[in-house]
Symmetry: C2
Subunit: 241 residues, 2 copies
């Protein structure tokens, strides 16, 4: 058994949006960077996995944002793993400004064989994982499984250089940017708390075209990002307070 | 007279591109953040200027990149101001990994009255500026004045939420992303040194459409970014080694 680990950050100019608050995308970016750094510290980072041609893949994520921090705020992110089975591992996040809880997150990861593109049985990491587990509940409910939508509006654009990661796949953060770019600006400006659920289903590559479908009903916004031939890449649901 | 000031950074996962090296856009982002922080420290940051409804505007920039740092490299950025007249101020940059020079930059700034949108005579800052001047030459030649081009290819897209800064204008970095997104991927992958000259001419707003025109001749690539009605926003020239 292990303890919750905390990481310190300052909200930099490149993290804030036009409201001078950290964007939801940059809050999630911060959590995912913490996930990478903490996995590395605990002995199961991508650096170790790559020796066996394995890598971590984010499958689902839920984040609740209570208040977006301001530019130059000194924030802390707590993280801990509290569940792990053959197919999935759960990592949790709390973002704080001192004692004030700003955001919470629950992420579910699987392990992929980069050569066969097949999911790997995580029992191989059992020993190192058990030492890293923390006996603390997840701060919010698990990410929902999201169903297909019939979009009311769609927009499309090609995958470009600034979208892709070292696998030449579209970076996870870009889906979140695409989704928030499809929202009315005043909804983002007046945001006073939200929950976002994300399902990552497939990966887009350089040369593909991304299509973002959107359907809204009152304070609930649903999205489906797909690529050529209607291949579904990512689904999201945002519920504003 | 003052001394050259240095700032330390680590190249984070969000700064690297698919080659796992810091993108040129993130190298420039780093220099511009250093400019903001150093101006703040020396008493002429946007925080001071905003009290008088003034702000800094980047008018021209030249950056030479000799080698892009790798993910997790601990780099240093030296900065100094060495020229200043009524209309323009020159700030210089050297990015280093230990003693190895990775990139150099020269930036020219003017001061804008945010209410009248007119350029301000910088004599108002003369005293504080003179104390911040450093007797050290610029590391590379000044940014070139770039002329109009007849683009061979163009692409367009609307300004979106993730493009805009607190003025609801398109963030400077986005022009650089747009320009690099228009380059062939293998040119970026094989990059072994380049010089980029940038002229910032006008600002785009949320709701505008951005058009990127491109013209290439051997190892020289020229760009013009414009908005609705052909209004020129930014010109750039990249020369690959």
């Amino acid at each position: 058994m292990a303890e919750i680990t905390s990481y310190k950050f300052r909200v930099e100019p490149q993290n804030v949006d036009f409201t001078l608050r950290a964007s939801v995308s940059s809050i999630i970016d911060c959590m995912l960077n913490v996930a990478g750094e903490d996995a590395h510290k605990k002995g199961f980072g991508v650096d170790v996995l790559q020796g066996q041609s394995f890598t971590w893949v984010l499958s689902r994520l839920a984040v609740e944002v209570y208040r977006q921090p301001q530019q130059y705020d000194n924030i802390e992110v707590d993280t801990w793993v509290n569940e792990f089975n053959r197919l999935s591992s759960t990592r949790n996040f709390r973002m704080r400004l001192g004692d004030e809880l700003l955001a919470s997150g629950v992420s579910q990861w699987c392990m992929l064989n980069m050569e066969s593109r097949q999911v790997v049985d995580m029992s191989v990491l059992k020993d190192v994982y058990e030492r890293a587990m923390v006996a603390e509940e997840s701060p919010i409910s698990s990410p929902q499984r999201l169903r297909a939508i019939e979009p009311a509006t769609t927009t499309s654009r090609p995958v470009v250089y600034s979208d892709i990661d070292f696998n030449r796949h579209v970076n996870t953060l870009r889906y979140i940017d695409l989704i928030f770019d499809a929202l009315p600006l005043d909804l983002i400006e007046k945001n006073n708390g939200l929950r976002i659920d994300l399902n990552f289903i497939a990966e887009a590559r350089y040369g593909d075209t991304l299509t973002v479908g959107c359907l809204s009903d009152d304070n609930v916004w649903q999205f489906e990002v797909s690529s050529d031939g209607g291949k579904v890449l990512c689904r999201a649901k945002i519920e504003f307070k």
